[in-house]
Homo-oligomer: 213 residues x 4
C-alpha cells in the first residue's frame, strides 16, 4: 500500500464527510403564522452543529496531513488504524444531525443528543491517538524522526483532546449547548495551533522526503 493512495483515499473521505454536513441542515417547514425568518432563526442548533463539525473535521484533515508528512512507510496495522479513524470521522454527520434536531427542545433529548455528539468526538479522538501512537512507536514507519520534544508536545495535544472531549461529555448533562461550544473551542484551539507551526519546519519542504511516498 503506497502512502499516496492512502492519503488520497483519506482526503476523499474527509472532504466528503465535511461537505455532507450541509445536507443535514434542512430548509425549515413553516408552521401557521410563522415567518420564514423566524423558522430560520429557530434552527440555530443546525448552524452551530454545522460549524463545530466542520471545524472538527477540518482540523482532523489538517492533523492527518501533518502526521502523514512524517510517515515514510505504511504497514498493515496503520492501514487498519486509518480505516478505524475514517469510520468514526465518517460517522460525525449522524450525531450532527441528531444535535440539530434535538438540541432546541431541551430536556433529556437535548442532553442525550449532546452526549452522543461528544461521545463520537471522543471516540474519534481515541482513534486518532491510537494511529499517532502506532506511527511514533519507533522509527520503522517514519522517514525522519522528529525531535523527541516535538513528539511529546503532539502527545500532550492528543491527551488534551481526550480530556476536553470527556469533559464535554460530562458537561452534556449540565448544559447541552455549552458542551457543543466546548467541542467547538477545542477545534478552534487545534486549528490555530496547527496554523501557528512555522512552514519552514515542514518535511514537505524537502522534496526527497515528500517524494518517498
Amino acid at each position: 500500500m503506497s502512502k499516496s493512495r492512502l492519503e488520497a483515499f483519506s482526503d476523499g473521505v474527509l472532504a466528503i464527510a465535511i461537505t455532507l454536513l450541509v445536507i443535514e441542515i434542512h430548509p425549515p417547514e413553516l408552521h401557521p403564522g410563522e415567518t420564514l425568518a423566524q423558522a430560520l432563526w429557530a434552527q440555530w442548533p443546525s448552524y452551530l452543529a454545522y460549524l463545530v463539525s466542520f471545524l472538527t473535521i477540518g482540523v482532523i484533515w489538517l492533523n492527518h496531513h501533518r502526521v502523514f508528512t512524517q510517515v515514510a512507510r505504511v504497514d498493515g496495522p496503520l492501514l487498519l488504524l486509518n480505516l478505524n479513524l475514517l469510520l468514526w470521522t465518517g460517522l460525525i454527520p449522524f450525531p450532527t444531525a441528531v444535535v440539530a434536531e434535538h438540541l432546541h427542545g431541551g430536556g433529556e433529548a437535548a442532553r442525550t443528543a449532546a452526549a452522543l455528539y461528544c461521545g463520537v468526538l471522543l471516540l474519534t479522538s481515541v482513534a486518532f491517538g491510537a494511529l499517532f501512537a502506532w506511527v511514533t512507536r519507533d522509527d520503522r514507519l517514519l522517514g525522519r524522526r522528529p525531535p523527541a520534544e516535538v513528539i511529546r508536545a503532539a502527545r500532550r495535544r492528543f491527551m488534551l483532546g481526550l480530556v476536553v472531549y470527556a469533559a464535554a461529555l460530562a458537561l452534556s448533562w449540565v448544559s447541552a449547548p455549552l458542551a457543543l461550544v466546548l467541542c467547538g473551542l477545542m477545534a478552534l484551539y487545534y486549528a490555530f495551533d496547527q496554523a501557528s507551526v512555522p512552514a519552514a519546519s515542514e518535511p514537505d519542504a524537502q522534496p526527497p522526503t515528500r517524494r518517498s511516498a
Copy 2:
C-alpha cells in the same frame, strides 16, 4: 502543509458541494388533478437555484485554481482562511434548498429566502477576498509576483463582487427572483472573465513554478 494537498482537498470539497446541489431538486409530489409536467414546471425555482449555485461554485473553483497557481508557499493563516472559504462554499446547498422551496410562494418567505441566499454568497465573497488579500499582501507566499496592475485588476473584481452581492441582498426585498438572477449574472460575468484570460499568461505553463507546489 503542501500546496498540492491543500488544492486536492479544496477541489474535493468544491466538487462535492457542486454535485450535492442536485439532491435538493426533489421529484415533485403530484396533487390531485395535476399532471407531472405541470408539477415539474412549478418547480422552476429549483432549476434556477441549481443553475445559479452551480455557476457560482464553478466560478469559485476556477478562481481558487487561478489564485493558487501563483502561490508557492502555504502558511498557517492561509490554511485557516482557506478552511473558512470552504465552510461558506460548502454551505451554499442549504440556501439553495431554501430558495428552491420558498421562492415560488412569494411574500415574506420568498424575500427571506432570497436574502439568505444573497447573504451567504456575500459572505463567501468576503471569505475569498480575505484569502486573496492575505496571499497578495506581500511576496512571502508568491512564487513569482504578478505585475501590480494584474493584482489591482483582481482586487477590483473582488470589490465588484462584494458590491453586486450586497446589491442583490438589497434587491431581495423588491424582487426575490431578480435578486437570484443578479447573482447568476455575476457568476456568468466571472466565468467569461476567467475564460478570457489568454492561456499563455498562466504560470502553469511553466513546469518549474508548477512543480514548486
Copy 3:
C-alpha cells in the same frame, strides 16, 4: 488552468454524480399486507434507472478521459464548455429520481418522466458534442492531432448519440420503459465501443504526451 486540475475536478464531479445515484433508491415503505419482497420488486423502475444512469455517467467518464488524453492545452472556452458538460451530467440524478418514482404508475406521469430523462441525456450529449467540436476544431488545443478518419469516426459516434437520444425522447410517448431501455442500449454500445479500442493506440502509453498535462 492546467489540464491535470481540470481532469481531477471533472473526475470528482463524475465520481460523485455516479455514486449519488444510489441515494435515490429509497428503502420501500410497506403497505398493509405487503411483504418486503413484493415491495422491493415493485421498485423495479428505481433499479432500471440506476443501471441506465450508472452506465451513462460511466461512459461519459470513459469518453471524457479519452478526449482529454488528446488535449495538450486548455483555453477559456474549453473551461466553460467543460463546466457546461458537468452541469448537465451533474443533473442526471434528478431525472433518474423522477423516473424511479413515476415510471411505475404509467400514463402521463410515466411518459413525462421518461421524456424528461431522455431530454436531459440529449442535452448532456449536445454539451459533450460541443466540447468535442471545440477541441477538434483545429490543432491549437491538441498535442498530437489524431488521424482525420479517427476524428470523423468520433464525430459520427456523437451524431449517433444525438439521433438515438432524440429517438428515445420521441419513444417516451409510446412506451416510457422502452425509451429508458433504448438509453441503456446506447450507453452499452458506447461502453463496448470504448472498450474495443486497442490499448496500444492510446496516447497515454507515451510518457511525453501524458506528462505534457
Copy 4:
C-alpha cells in the same frame, strides 16, 4: 486509458460510497413517552449495518489497490469489469438502508432485507472475482507476474468470499442478524489478512514499477 485515472476514479467512487453510508442513519423520531436514548438504542440495526458496510467497502478499496499495484496495462474488458465492480459497490448503501429499516421488525421483512444485503455482497464479490480473473489470466496486463502460489492464494480468498456470502445468504432465512454478522466477520478477516502482508513484498516499494502506471 491510463491506470492512474482508473485508480483515481475508482478511489473517488469507493470513498464516496463509504461516506454516503452515514446518511442512511437518520436521527430517530421520538414516539410519545420515548426518550431519545431509547430511540437511539432501538436503531441498533442502523449502526450494525453501517459498521459491516463500512468494513466491506474499506476492504474492497484495500483489495482494489492491491490488485492494481500489479497491473501495468489497462485494456477494454478491464475497464468494463471495473465499472461493473463499481456499479455493485456503489449500490451497497441501498441494501444497507433496507437492513437498517427492516431488520428490527423481524419476520419476513428482516429475512428479506438480510437476503438482499447478502445477495448484493455476493454479486459484488462475483464482480471482483471476475476482474481478478481477467487481470491474472495471463501476463499481458501485469507488470511483473507475482509467483504462482501468491495468485493461487488470492484465488482461494476470492472463492472463500463467494462461499461465505452464499452461506450468509442462506443464513438470512434462519437469522437475519446472524447473516449480517457473518458478512462483518468476512470483512474483518479480509481486513486483517490484507494488513498482514509484509510491506516489503509490495511492488509499490519499487519506484520503477510504481511509475509505470
